[in-house]
């Protein structure tokens, strides 16, 4: 049975969701927590059974779906996807546990379980079409979550979210089909397996176009500047749980896909586009930080800061070396933990006051000391203070890019420091000074239900900040094999020098699949 652990992890929540329809609405939250705990334990089992010394895919499953067209049900994970899957399971569990009194709670829990299926599916799929299926399917529950439980502009926000990502992914689909066609031309058979595609050596010009097609799909999801405009609406209108899952897991689909598709498949194009993308990433870091500074709504501050940090992840990814990519994967985890926690924290205050405007607050540290402490820790983690989780990832990402370009890295580094200002100023506005607003005088401090979700996240943020090794090692191992693959496949001399050679890490048999 454990041979099919990935399938179980994907379809258990969906099955549980279907069964959930008949459960009375009073018990459905407990049911959801129970299912997501099982799911989380299952994902921990993955970690337990994962062999960190193997650099290839593990827990592989394969079954033909449309053999005549080369589409398979192909699953497998490496050190990169492993932790994102654990994080997806963690946040579904904590998210359901932290749900307060909500209308239509039954629908919400069931939708979350379906969303979980698509999230695990995306990170476990090794067949491009299977990946696309889960990628697109994840839009539907999210559309519903934002559209049914969101704020006053929720319908506009949800449809905007849907259409933006849908458009991007359709262009990506054309790219996928073209890649498969090139594979067909080279080998005479159709295949959508990513592992097979890795063996394909493409001419430079094809790489550029295909890279662009995939890039649009991924960049909208990340969201990279200038495709980011859907995100503030989505976050602004989404209910707390929606923002948490969106920031913690869904955005990672984009950056994960860069590492899974763009880099190993198109190493030359990745080198070619390295600086333009780095420039976009730095604009993302600086511009969104500035926008965040101007926000009056505390949730928007967190939302924009989240985009800003996604910029660092992109920068690390396109460092194209082991340090940078490892750092960006680690930062994906860190960003997930921290931004998820921050959105949960904003949700706490919103539940009490039904406003997110910072001008309404001030001096909260006196009234809600425990809340202020946790918020403070997460804020510092977000800013990237050493000994907290994000520092490790940001440091490695920047270190990685430093090997490619000193100036650009310096710019990004300064931008991050400047970016910290808005977080601290938001923190100051909301938490310090006198309590000026009468309504804030008697706010209850954070309660047990909310602590259940926040304490584990705080522990993780500190633990992995102090001792990142347990997850850094497996990530590093998988990243090394990707970088080795990229170096091996690169055809242009520039890419050969930009992408470091790693002796003894060759993961590719010199392939016959070459497109002329």
């Amino acid at each position: 049975m454990l041979d099919h652990i990935l399938s179980i992890l994907i379809f258990l929540p969906a099955l549980a969701g279907i069964l959930g329809f008949v459960i009375h609405k009073d018990s459905v939250k407990t049911y959801g927590i129970a299912v997501s705990i099982i799911e989380f334990l299952g994902s921990l089992y993955l970690w337990f059974a994962f062999d960190p010394n193997v650099s290839g895919m593990q827990f592989m499953e394969s079954m033909p779906i449309i053999p005549s067209f080369g589409i398979n049900y192909l699953l497998g994970i490496d050190g990169i996807s492993l932790f994102i899957i654990i994080m997806a399971a963690l946040f579904t569990m904590l998210g359901i546990a932290s749900l307060g009194e909500t209308k239509k709670i039954k629908n919400l829990v069931i939708t979350l379980l379906f969303l979980q299926m698509t999230m695990v599916g995306v990170f476990a799929a090794l067949d491009a079409i299977l990946f696309y299926v889960f990628w697109e399917l994840s839009l539907v529950p999210m559309l519903y979550i934002i559209g049914a439980w969101g704020g006053p502009l929720r319908i506009y926000a949800s449809v905007k979210f849907f259409l933006y990502t849908f458009t991007g992914s359709l262009i990506m689909l054309v790219g996928m089909l073209f890649t498969a066609y090139l594979y067909y031309q080279a080998t005479g058979s159709w295949s959508f397996s990513i592992l097979e595609w890795y063996r394909l050596i493409l001419p430079h010009s094809y790489q550029l176009w295909l890279f662009a097609a995939f890039f649009i799909g991924f960049a909208i999801k990340v969201p990279m500047f200038p495709f980011h405009t859907w995100l503030p609406y989505a976050h602004g209108q989404a209910p707390t749980i929606g923002s948490v899952i969106l920031a913690a897991v869904l955005l990672k689909m984009g950056t994960y896909a860069f590492i899974r598709f763009s880099l190993p498949m198109f190493p030359d194009a990745a080198t070619f586009f390295m600086f333009p993308i780095a420039v976009l990433a730095i604009i993302m870091i600086i511009y969104t930080a500035m926008v965040a500074y101007a926000q009056e709504d505390i949730k928007q501050v967190v939302a924009y800061s989240s985009v800003s940090h996604m910029g660092v992840i992109v920068l690390g990814t396109f460092a194209l070396n082991v340090e940078g990519i490892t750092g960006s994967v680690f930062l994906m985890i860190g960003h997930g933990i921290v931004s998820g926690a921050l959105f949960l924290l904003v949700g706490v205050i919103y539940d009490r006051r039904h406003t997110k405007l910072m001008s309404e607050f001030g001096g909260l540290a006196h009234v809600m000391p425990r809340y202020a402490t946790i918020f403070g820790i997460m804020m510092m983690a977000s800013v990237g203070l050493p000994l907290l989780i994000n520092f490790v990832g940001e440091f490695l990402s920047l270190l990685g890019f430093y090997n490619q370009s000193h100036i650009t890295t310096l710019l990004a580094g300064v931008a991050i420091i400047v970016g910290a200002i808005y977080m601290l100023s938001a923190f100051k506005k909301a938490f310090f000074g006198e309590v000026t607003n009468e309504k804030n005088k008697n706010l209850p401090d954070i309660n047990k239900r909310e602590l259940v979700a926040l304490i584990p996240l705080t522990i993780i943020a500190v633990w992995l900040g102090v001792y990142p090794k347990p997850i850094l090692n497996p990530i590093n191992n998988s990243v090394e094999s990707i970088v080795a693959l990229m170096h091996e496949k690169a055809i242009s001399p520039e890419a050969k020098t930009r992408i470091p050679a790693l002796e003894g890490k060759i993961a590719i048999q010199k392939s016959e699949a070459e497109v002329k």
Binding site: I66, I129, G147, I155, L163, F166, L170, F178, A180, Y181
Partner: protein, 502 residues
């Protein structure tokens, strides 16, 4: 003096007519019964028609097996041509008819179904479409086309509402114009080649190297115009939304599927050699038609306030999408056409049937059309299962995986990519994205808005009966679990298309 013509019965191969004769006999049979006994229940006619259509389907399976072993069959002075295309198209035609007939068993009484003529005409129409696809003789195509169309006009008019008469008249006049176009186009081809058989025409054109190119292009334009009416290609689509709106929802659903597959086969036969001729204008004309037919209705659909009209425009856009297969003209694209249309049959019949069961006999006050978006507001609260199923069909039409139509879209775009039409593939992808908006709009209304006061859940199943629910169930299962069927379907279709030389 005329010399004797000796024809042996065997060489006629009368058997090739069997699939068409079954519905014709059925129709005559129904008329005869009606002659003798007037007050029979409508459900008897439904079942009788169903029986004949089932028989028809059985004979097609028989032919499919024979085709698999013996290849293309010719019959009746080589008028009949039973190749893979003909069989695949007939499977869709007869299969969709099988699913359509039980829709007549509604709980509300719509009087058109109480006429036996309705069922007789329906069977004649099926035979007409079957003739249309099972020949490459321009005259027989014309006869099939007109038989089917005349029956269809009457079927629409039987729906006895002012709008239905208007629709029928509109469809009829447009159809008459199309018939004129068709006759004129065939005449030019005949004048140029001295034959009305498509493969002969192709041979003659190839032999003289397309010497009369201007005339051929005029003929192409006329024929494209004629078939374009049936396929509702822009700019010949203007009738479609009004006719769909005027016809009953079930009829509209049927019209969006069956006449079109027949039209596609004719277009494939006609344009196969023209596209491969290397004459640049042929490509340009088709390319423009395809892109405009895909894009323009998508944009019109965005602003519709009535779901049925939205679906009408969306069907036009789907037709444009599929028409791309004729332009690409590879085995993969031609197979994609049939795959797409088979999947489309389930989804579109399902979504029109959902409108059909929510049909009120009389329009409530203050509602100007049958199915405005607002009618579906908050449907998830009042009729959760119906809302979920409707949403499913919308997701499938939008091409969200893993639902049915996604696989058709996937294969079609892939065929464009492998045929070298990258820009077309991108246009197709962008069109799917635009279409996403109006499908999601209905989902937004159903799932995220508050219900309209006064509209209880039962309005959504006003017209439901067990057989209607069964049909919708079949359509829903076909849509959700399509992925299991894709591989066998694809292999079957590809083999048939390939063996017919397309």
């Amino acid at each position: 003096m005329l010399s004797h013509v000796n024809v042996s019965l065997e060489s006629l191969n009368i058997a090739t007519l069997v699939p068409m004769l079954i519905p014709i006999i059925g129709a005559l049979f129904i008329l005869v019964i009606d002659l003798f006994k007037k007050d029979l229940s409508k459900s008897m006619y439904v079942m009788l028609s169903l029986l004949f259509v089932l028989l028809d389907f059985g004979s097609l399976i028989d032919f499919a097996i024979r085709f698999d072993t013996n290849g293309t069959l010719l019959g009746y002075f080589d008028l009949m041509l039973v190749d893979g295309l003909a069989l695949l198209a007939q499977f869709v035609i007869v299969g969709a008819s099988l699913l359509f007939i039980p829709l007549a068993l509604t709980s509300k009484r719509f009087h058109e179904f109480s006429y036996s003529e309705f069922f007789a005409l329906f069977l004649f129409m099926i035979a007409g479409f079957q003739f249309m696809v099972a020949t490459d003789n321009l005259i027989l195509i014309f006869i099939g086309l007109e038989t089917a169309s005349l029956a269809l006009y009457t079927l629409i008019a039987l729906h006895n509402r002012t709008k239905s008469f208007e629709a029928a008249v509109k469809y009829f006049t447009m159809g008459a114009l199309a018939a004129g176009f068709y006759a004129f186009g065939s005449m030019i081809f005949y004048a140029l080649s001295g034959s009305v058989e498509i493969h002969q025409i192709a041979a003659v054109f190839h032999a003289d190297g397309f010497a009369n190119l201007p005339y051929i292009l005029i003929g192409v334009v006329f024929l494209l115009g004629a078939v374009g009416f049936k396929l509702s290609l822009v700019p010949f689509h203007t009738w479609a939304p009004d006719v769909y709106e005027g016809a009953s929802a079930s009829m509209a659903g049927y019209m969006s599927i069956v006449p079109k597959i027949a039209g596609f086969v004719v277009v494939m036969r006609l344009f196969e050699f023209l596209v491969h001729s290397g004459v640049v204008w042929m490509d340009v004309i088709l390319y423009a038609t395809v892109v405009i037919t895909m894009t323009a209705p998508n944009i019109w659909a965005l602003v519709q306030t009535d779901v049925k009209r939205m679906l009408a425009y969306s069907s036009i856009s789907h037709a444009g999408f599929v028409m791309a297969a004729v332009l690409i003209a590879t085995t993969q694209s031609n197979s994609a056409l049939f795959l797409y249309w088979t999947l489309f049959t389930f989804t579109n019949l399902g979504s029109f049937s959902m409108l059909w069961i929510s049909r009120q006999k009389n329009l409530p006050a203050g509602q100007s059309s049958d199915h405005p978006y607002t009618k579906f507001s908050g449907m998830i609260k009042t009729a959760p299962i119906a809302a979920t199923i409707m949403a499913l069909f919308m997701l499938s039409l939008a091409g969200i995986p893993p639902f049915g139509l996604f696989w058709g879209k996937l294969y079609m775009i892939s065929s464009a990519v492998s045929g070298g039409y990258i820009v077309l593939a991108l246009i197709m992808a962008l069109n799917s994205a635009i279409a996403g908006y109006y499908y999601v709009k209905l989902i937004v209304y159903m799932f995220m808005k508050e219900p309209v006061p006064g509209l209880e859940g039962k309005v959504y199943s006003m017209n439901a009966s067990t057989s209607l629910r069964t049909i919708i169930g079949i359509a829903a299962i076909g849509t959700v679990f399509a992925v299991i069927a894709i591989n066998p379907l694809l292999e079957f279709i590809t083999r048939f298309v390939y063996n017919s030389g397309y």
